[in-house]
Symmetry: C2
Subunit: 350 residues, 2 copies
């Protein structure tokens, strides 16, 4: 355990790679110090310190990403993995109608990986997305692991008192909306499983890569929509699509104690998914309904607020896909004149 | 990846073990809802929500524990592991002079472990310690892993505005103190590495087990001392001993830009460590100086505040071990009339 490895590490500590402490020092210098009124203390002590302000709620969430379960090291790049680790957490805060503010990252890597640029590139991808949304890295932990890379991404956000949008506020009659297009991330995962890979030259333009592969490897959280829907009190309930629309809508309905009726003809299917499925005689609707990791937002809006919804936020449109019904009606989807029960078909860990 | 496993999981989902969602529901029911003025929303949504109050700072820290690096599954029990996962985080908040309030835990376990009582027992150990210190579990994440158990323990604490005790406030002339006794956890680790093990019958009284093994497997964070030293503005700088006194004092001195002089005759060595070392002709001082994971607090006190220090908090005493000096003097330890440089000799991950 620690003592065994300790001797090895001390023997190495004069070697070419940065020690954990040197690395944390370097990271600390890379993170701009800003917003001292809200953050009293960032990376480098036993804990980070956030100043309380009246009228503000602080949100916190955590996402664990495990190699060969949530990602394969051979199918992504450290930079994309850093991006995705933060993106899934930003999506959680967006799903609460709040603004993401601070990030902490625990990362465990095998020793041979520590000696490469993996961790540096991982943080470069993470910090680039953080900077885009004005999120500050304020702490974390590093550890060695026997074999696999493991990442825990912790996010703190904020919103006005009582403005957080839970999964539990939907009422019968509320209209159901979803941001963006669905099924892309699941289609990208299938391409990757069938051997599609990123260009070996990392400098090659990512725009040349299949759009659906990027939906899987480099998800864009709907931060702007989350803030608008929360601040303007437009959403009565909200969740992000990580497990799949059918699963996540199920969570929302369970918490709100309601049912739902979706219209299958309204589900916004990613255009490339439709193309790919057409060529393989697959049903794109299944991917859009049950495919995970799109990180779009599903939310419900009271009928008299529907007209107040913006058409686009940050260039992302929304689509009306159905209506909240009484719990006794269950969760269903109409296809023409037929109506089916929509069973959760998305991802579950156990 | 997800889709591959997905099918297997759905096939299993009618089996005997709880699904992830069922488990989270059960956990939610176990956690008492309290303190609604501070916590608006706990387990079960995309994020937990904490109400801001003026005059309050919120602290956050995270600790990653990896199987076969930070613990061996064969040398501990799930209950002890749950205790330790929270204890190391409570220790971080204590080291900031703050009060621990909320915990989030990300846990990744292989599927065969999920099907045992491991996770249930883990949370039972964690929740028992949480309840002792009035800390509430408010969130987390679960994942499967290919092989090893991995835990990320996230803790939130609070203190009055600007009362957090950093590592950076020590001044030359400040007196250095440490809580409790040192070297026990490292001695316990050595016993475990040499084959000592817990009783196979988990109902057997833990008091029969070697005290130093419990120091390693079931550390007691110095929560009471942390709160007193912070609230009463007694400590000018503080850190907890996770890597080892020599390493952690080094961190404190670096951040404070000071040096230190310890008196080796004052170092409070765990009594059983002295006995064990005596039998093996080992130097107990080395374990006390460099052994990690004692989770005692090292702190510095301005000379005119020394008389204000309580003798004991929660039955734990403190010991005066040295003095902060100018940075140019480095970090040294006296042994009779001789003075040595005290190099950091504790644990580092890389």
């Amino acid at each position: 355990m620690k003592d065994e490895l300790d001797r090895q590490r001390h023997a190495q500590s004069s070697g070419r790679t940065l020690s954990e402490f040197e690395f944390i020092r370097t990271l600390r210098q890379q993170v701009p110090v800003r917003d001292q009124t809200s953050l009293s203390l960032g990376i480098g002590d036993d804990a980070a310190v956030i100043r309380s302000h009246p009228g503000r709620d602080i949100l916190i969430s955590t996402d664990l990403l495990v190699e060969d379960v949530d990602f394969r090291r051979t199918s992504t790049t450290p930079t994309l993995l850093g991006h995705k680790s933060l993106a899934v957490s930003l999506s959680d805060i967006a799903a609460m109608g709040a603004r993401p503010r601070w990030s902490l990252v625990s990362i465990g890597v095998p020793e041979d990986i520590w000696e490469t640029n993996f961790v540096k590139d991982f943080y470069s991808g993470l910090l680039s997305l953080a900077s885009h949304y004005d999120v500050q890295l304020i702490g974390g932990d590093t550890s060695s692991t026997p074999e696999k890379v493991v990442i825990d991404s912790i996010i703190l956000g904020e919103c006005g008192t009582d403005l957080a949008v839970t999964r539990g506020g939907a009422k019968p009659g509320d209209q159901i909306f979803v941001t963006g297009y669905l099924g892309g991330a699941a289609a990208g995962l299938r391409l990757i499983e069938r051997g599609a890979h990123l260009p070996s030259d990392p400098s090659e333009d990512l725009h040349l890569i299949d759009h659906v592969m990027l939906r899987q490897l480099r998800p864009e959280p709907r931060v702007g929509w989350g803030i608008v829907l929360g601040q303007e009190r437009l959403a009565t309930a909200m969740i992000d699509i990580s497990d799949g629309l059918s699963s996540d809508l199920n969570h929302l309905c369970l918490e709100s104690k309601v049912g739902a009726l979706l219209d299958s003809s309204l589900i916004p299917i990613d255009k490339q998914v439709a193309d790919l499925c057409g060529r393989r005689a697959l049903d794109p609707l299944q991917l859009a309904l049950h495919g995970g990791e799109d990180f779009e937002l599903v939310f419900t809006v009271s009928p008299n607020n529907v007209s107040r919804l913006p058409r686009r936020v940050d260039g992302v449109s929304i689509t009306h896909i159905g209506e909240i019904r009484d719990a006794t009606e269950g969760i269903r989807i109409s296809e023409g004149s037929r109506v089916w029960e929509l069973k959760p078909g998305g991802w579950r860990h156990f």
